[in-house]
Subunit: 325 residues, 2 copies
């Protein structure tokens, strides 16, 4: 842990109380001048630190930034997040996570960025990822499962985001198959799940989650203006990205634990209860075909089940779904 | 093309006829001394080249080595193999091909090695890949298909190898689900298909094929002695690995063309006709479960369909299958 991280931790522990420069210097094993330098660096990072003669220092505010130590603070003590890779800007957190995973990164390594320059969405689309106003993260997963179970991770991700949004904002978030989270029909979150596997086993999954948190209405590019929204727009207030991140990770861990142990049923039920696609008349564009039917549920692999007019059911692995009724 | 490759090509074109050093020098735009040096290098590579005063040089024999120019010679003119990466030794041709693919290698790039030091099989097993006596190859594929279609490539590979073996050796090769090719019940070929994908599309597949061609009976390690065989053991003669490679690639292209255009039916029928698992009473060990039933076919995704005693059918995505009757 760096001196900065140790310093933040000690200040956090002290809560509302001041701690003297002398005590800090002793605790961290550095000079008082060094403490002063680190305090000043933390202020540059966005920390508000009160300083009073004869009292010392006190943490008065943390920046809503994706800093490893602050992220660690919003995770549970037994969180499966094993390592945090935080970037000010990244081309794409999924690209970084895929490279890390190919290089041997472990289950639970987390990549976050303040800004993505080339954020990617499904089907080769771009993902708008402006600086400081979203949750742009990628999680490395190494479940001992066959590749056909990978879509379950996407579903667990969507459930986690929808629940975390409901808990932290009160907004009525729904899931749109397979992996969008929407509020009032507008997209607030997208998930891009990438995988390396053989035909028997998943080698690694990278679960990319993008949530529009504090994006202002005017900030979306024209092509998204009518279809995208943000939590700030929907709730009418600025939200803590860190708090949302903590909730997303915690909810995801619960669902992921079920998947890993082969118990997809409870998660599936939860997914269906949050989904606003199931029960609706839908048009599916998939694998070059278009078909109309009623979305009747998901199967144990996470595929959408669509009941066709002829009474047969199709299991849709991938594609675009539009609710038409 | 290197001078060596050009020289081999010209000698090939001349067939049984001699060509003078002077003509070679002129054709290739180098000195006669250079020609002499290159001839001597080709001999070191294993080429037999006759040399007669006043006549010149004549190609009398090529080495059974995985040299790019010789491989190109056994491929059809319109082969989809776009580039050949040949190694004397490699840790694993699949590892190399995966790295190449991640770096942007194209559809049809082929990796071959004389020897694999860390050849890999399914389920984390090793693949015995001794020097010069097998076909150890990996093909990079970039089909525009969903990841669930990837097992079809494995099936196309198994069909291609079984047919190529039958054509070049006359041996009765069969397929054992999902991806082994066997002769008299003993394994002569294994296939390891690896993939990088998102949930909608395959990014790339690496189809790894290992065929025991000229492996001698005594050369197999103890644990393989009773379950593995080679084409040399089965046919009683040394075989040209290059000729087999040409046949495998050609047959694979035919099946792969069907898959890419969504026509899996013909390939599936061919697979079933070559398979000695279908119709048999089998025990399947898959995803931590064991089940007995009758293998009744494969579904459109390449999964084995097993009819259970209760009349239900299970679609097996991955696992080990043993014929028990």
């Amino acid at each position: 842990m760096s001196i900065d991280e140790q310093l933040v931790r000690v200040l956090h522990e002290k809560g509302d109380h001041f701690i003297s420069g002398e005590e800090l210097a002793e605790t961290l094993g550095v000079t008082r001048t060094a403490i002063w330098n680190h305090i000043s660096r933390l202020r540059d990072l966005g920390y508000t630190i009160d300083a009073l003669p004869h009292h010392g220092y006190r943490l008065a505010g943390i920046p809503d930034k994706m800093l490893p130590d602050e992220i660690r603070n919003v995770l549970t003590a037994d969180s499966f997040v094993s390592k945090i890779h935080a970037y000010d800007r990244a081309d794409s957190t999924n690209d970084i996570a895929m490279r890390l995973a190919e290089g041997g990164a472990l289950e639970g390594e987390l990549v976050v960025a303040e800004q993505q320059l080339k954020g990617r969405g499904r089907l080769g689309r771009n993902w708008f990822s402006p600086k400081g106003s979203g949750l742009w993260l990628s999680l490395i997963l190494r479940p001992s499962l066959p590749p056909s179970a990978a879509p379950q991770a996407t579903l667990a991700g969507a459930v986690a985001v929808a629940k975390a949004i409901r808990e932290t904002t009160g907004c009525e978030a729904h899931i749109k198959w397979p992996n969008d989270v929407v509020i009032r029909g507008r997209k607030v979150c997208g998930i891009l799940t990438e995988m390396s596997s053989d035909m028997d086993r998943i080698r690694h999954i990278v679960l990319g989650i993008g949530v529009n948190v504090n994006v202002d209405a005017g900030a979306f590019p024209d092509e998204l203006a009518d279809i995208a929204t943000s939590l700030k727009i929907e709730s009418g207030r600025e939200l803590s990205r860190l708090a949302l991140l903590g909730a997303v990770i915690q909810r995801f861990e619960e669902g992921y634990q079920e998947i890993r142990t082969g118990g997809f049923e409870a998660l599936k039920d939860e997914w269906i209860s949050l989904c606003d696609t199931v029960g609706k008349h839908v048009r599916v564009t998939a694998e070059g075909r278009e078909l109309d039917g009623v979305a009747s549920g998901v199967d144990f692999r996470g595929n959408l089940v669509v009941r066709l007019p002829n009474g047969m059911s199709e299991h849709i692995i991938s594609g675009d779904v539009a609710v038409i009724e």
